[in-house]
């Protein structure tokens, strides 16, 4: 027996959540040829088919591109601090955090969340990330196709992978979806919304394996200084698009904004591909050019993070290659390492 929901039932569920004040995000056709995850104003904005995957990622929901950590207001001799997330008094831990729902995430996006959990809870518990994460439910739509830059199967995932999802949707081909709830959050969301059926949903078989991550790891571990990096990174322009559209890249910068910018300390995304990322106050820069910056990105994904947390810092979504204006990204570099 399986549980199913019609597409109109799914859109109704989205409409109900929006009406209840939940921030609902999902794939949206932003303009011709561009699909992005975005906050949905109406259930009709939700795009469910006809594309491989959005060009950005769902990390935005738990790790926004700009996040206020705290605000301050100066009143006479007093300085009042406010919580950046809830706008409430800094000491009020019970202030409600806005509920979020991500619909029709891709498996390679959902799988990034447990990977980010490690980062934001390793030596320091990042309460901003954790509070948003706890308030977020992720409903993943298994892929019905894959693109030329997808390589989930090379890093241990596949178009029906459940990792990081609270519930999974599988297309039935007749405009409805099989629903498989994975966590309590998922069950609560679909409770009473599905019908019993004997139909079983389907997913794409996924791309063939494109490289072996162990080979990549062995190579980066042994070739810190190697002409490979300067040869390969010559075309990198250091734009950071790879990191900013990646579901697992998580580096950030912290900025203090004065009165004209709203009196706040906030964080914004940062990227290891930027010269400023490693610039010292003295003017020295230990990573002096794109070759060492490209090496860093691959090293972090295939060796540093795996050594610490036992898995690869990449879900094979292909966004870094798909969006790189110069066609680089993990897929290009890793295949070059593996196949020469």
């Amino acid at each position: 027996m399986s549980e199913i929901i019609s597409q109109s039932g799914l859109r109704q569920l989205v409409a109900d959540r929006i009406a209840a004040g939940t921030i609902v995000s999902g794939p949206t056709q932003v303009k011709p040829k561009l699909v992005l995850y975005a906050v949905l104003g109406s259930p009709d904005d939700l795009l469910l088919e006809g594309f491989v995957r959005p060009d950005n990622s769902i990390k935005e929901c738990v790790f926004p591109k700009q996040e206020e950590l705290y605000g301050y207001r100066i009143q006479g001799n007093n300085i009042e601090l406010t919580d950046g997330l809830t706008n409430d008094d800094l000491t009020n831990d019970d202030a409600p955090v806005p509920k979020q729902l991500v619909v029709a995430a891709r498996p390679c996006d959902a799988a990034a969340l447990p990977i980010l959990d490690h980062i934001f809870n390793w030596d320091f518990k990042d309460e901003f990330y954790n509070r948003r994460r706890a308030a977020t439910t992720v409903v993943t739509l298994a892929c019905d196709s894959h693109g030329e830059n997808c390589f989930c199967t090379s890093v241990g995932l596949h178009p029906a992978a459940e990792r990081g999802s609270d519930a999974m949707l599988f297309e039935l081909g007749d405009g409805s979806y099989e629903v498989r709830c994975i966590t309590d959050k998922g069950r609560a969301l679909f409770d009473g919304k599905t019908e019993e059926s004997d139909k079983v949903g389907r997913a794409d078989a996924g791309p063939e394996k494109k490289f072996d991550p162990e080979t990549v790891r062995a190579f980066v571990d042994q070739h810190f200084e190697d002409p490979f990096w300067s040869q390969h990174a010559l075309t990198c322009v250091g734009c950071g698009v790879c990191a900013f559209t990646c579901p697992t890249c998580h580096c950030f910068d912290i900025v203090d904004a004065g009165p004209s910018a709203g009196n706040a300390r906030y964080r914004t995304w940062d990227s290891c591909q930027f010269p400023m990322f490693t610039a010292h106050a003295s003017g020295h820069n230990p990573r002096a050019g794109q070759p060492s910056r490209q090496r860093q990105r691959i090293l972090h994904k295939f060796s540093i993070y795996p050594n610490k947390f036992g898995e690869i810092l990449c879900t094979g979504c292909g966004n870094c290659t798909r969006n790189c204006p110069e066609g680089i990204g993990v897929l290009t570099v890793a295949t070059e390492i593996d196949h020469g």
């Binding site: 932003v30 303009k31 011709p32 040829k33 561009l34 992005l36 975005a38 104003g41 109406s42 904005d45 060009d55 950005n56 591109k65 700009q66 206020e68 605000g71 300067s230 990174a233 010559l234 075309t235 322009v237 250091g238 734009c239 950071g240 698009v241 990191a243 900013f244 559209t245 910068d253 900025v255 904004a257 009165p259 004209s260 910018a261 709203g262 009196n263 706040a264 906030y266 914004t268 995304w269 990227s271 930027f274 010269p275 400023m276 050019g289 794109q290 070759p291 969006n323 790189c324 204006p325 110069e326 066609g327 680089i328 290009t332």
Partner: protein, 446 residues
């Protein structure tokens, strides 16, 4: 975080709306004119805050915008009359930039009725009194500037511009590919050049060995403008380059040479005749055959006449009311992630340290917020005014699909209309920015 928190104070209970005006004035004329108004006891509304700068030529344009951000309802820029500049020609340079800057602000949907330019000399205390009185009254009528960066109804996609049907893409290898490989092989083999910057299977290819020439491709996916690599240190270090250019990319070489950024004699330019690579810009392109290349490969017919020309997005944008235009941009910029890919791919963005990366103190708000995004795009577009060659790389690279080219088009048009200048077309033409003419237009200066 409220982006316009300081604006709340402009409403006082008893008097109703009192406009705040910021005046950027030069030290030598207008500041003394304002001083004279004071010493001769001329009365004028107290709504103006004066910021004194050495010369109108030194007024950074982000300051005008910043004035609005911190709560001004109108901004005045004023300096010495033409011919009176303490530094000889600062105000002539300023005038030229104001002409371009107003077009940019107009395109972004700023309310131009709130931006005033004037010349006031040290002897014109009366004129200062009159200008401030009139401006205050006019701004009072306009009311507080609440449209600044307002995104209207953010979810409404009806504001998006018409884009026409998508052009079907059919991958084509072009006939000159073989000749290109052969030519590059020779250049590397006989040592004419040390490095070839060309197109490869997955993107740009940078080759240093003759035997790799077979990796080069020439097809209708060769979209990017490779001249951007000429500025990169890692590539300069390799020695004399050959670069593969399309007729549109070639224009950037003309500008870069004019700006002393490259030594044309030390670059071998391989021009590819081109019938279009399927980009929007190709439908309007009239170049087709390179004009300044050291060698030209392939043949291209002249531009095909378009039975069904794509909708003119720029005209559609300018047909909107200013507030609607601002909402359009606010909505587009809302997707910006501040990756700066638009800058990194641009062949004309070659500053060693971009103003956006200056952080001691911060010059451009680094946040991907409405304020930070407008500040960045104003800086980017204006620094490219009358320099951008329209290659479209910025729009192509933007992961957020922001129509950045529209801003460049606005400034390109302004340079054409006001100065008859087309960046990258005529190597002998004098650049617009950095020069001036006594007869530059002044009809907008009070």
């Amino acid at each position: 975080m409220s982006d316009d928190s300081t604006r709340d104070g402009t409403m006082t209970e008893n008097k109703g709306f009192e406009p705040k005006i910021v005046a950027y004035v030069c030290n030598w004329c207008t500041y003394l004119g304002a001083d004279l108004a004071g010493t001769t006891r001329l009365e004028y509304p107290p709504n103006v805050r004066i910021i004194r700068l050495p010369c109108t030529g030194r007024i950074d344009f982000n300051l005008i915008v910043k004035g609005f951000e911190i709560g001004a309802d109108a901004v005045l820029v004023s300096g010495c009359h033409p011919g009176d500049c303490h530094y000889t020609a600062g105000n002539y340079h300023a005038r030229r930039r104001w002409i371009l800057f107003r077009e940019l602000l107009d395109t972004l949907g700023f309310d131009l009725r709130r931006i005033h330019f004037t010349w006031i000399s040290a002897a014109e205390g009366k004129k200062w009194q009159q200008v401030i009185t009139e401006m205050t009254e006019q701004t009072r009528q306009l009311g507080p500037y609440t449209d600044l960066y307002a995104n209207g109804s953010a979810q409404d996609s009806a504001n998006d511009l018409p884009s026409g049907p998508p052009t079907p893409f059919e991958f084509k290898t072009l006939p000159a590919e073989g000749a290109l490989r052969e030519s590059c092989r020779k250049l590397l083999a006989d040592g004419t050049v040390k490095v070839v910057i060309g197109y490869g299977q997955r993107g740009p290819a940078i080759l240093t060995r003759a035997e790799d020439a077979g990796r080069l491709v020439w097809n209708n996916r060769c979209v990017s403008n490779l001249t951007t690599y000429l500025k990169r240190k890692e590539i300069k270090a390799l020695g004399k380059p050959a670069v593969v250019v399309k007729p549109c990319d070639e224009k950037s070489l003309v500008v870069l040479e004019k700006e002393s950024q490259l030594d044309r004699k030390n670059i071998h330019v391989i021009g590819m005749a081109c019938e279009g690579v399927g980009e929007p810009k190709c439908t309007f392109c009239t170049a087709r055959t390179p004009r300044f290349a050291d060698e030209t490969l392939g043949e291209a017919a002249g531009p095909a006449s378009l039975a069904d020309p794509p909708p003119n997005r720029f005209a559609a944008l300018m047909a909107m009311a200013p507030a609607e235009r601002m909402a359009f941009w606010a909505k587009q910029f809302d997707r910006c992630v501040k990756c700066y890919a638009c800058r990194q791919v641009c062949p004309m963005c070659y500053c060693e340290r971009c103003i956006a990366d200056k952080n001691r103190p911060i010059a451009i708000d680094p946040a991907p917020s409405a304020k930070g995004n407008f500040a960045w795009q104003i800086a980017r577009a204006f620094h490219l005014a009358a320099r951008c060659v329209g290659c479209g790389e910025c729009s192509r690279a933007c992961p957020a699909g922001i129509d950045l080219a529209l801003l460049n088009i606005a400034l390109h048009k302004a340079a054409q209309v006001n100065f008859g200048y087309d960046a990258g077309v005529d190597p002998a033409a004098e650049p617009v920015v950095g020069s001036y003419a006594l007869q530059d237009k002044e009809d907008f200066i009070g």
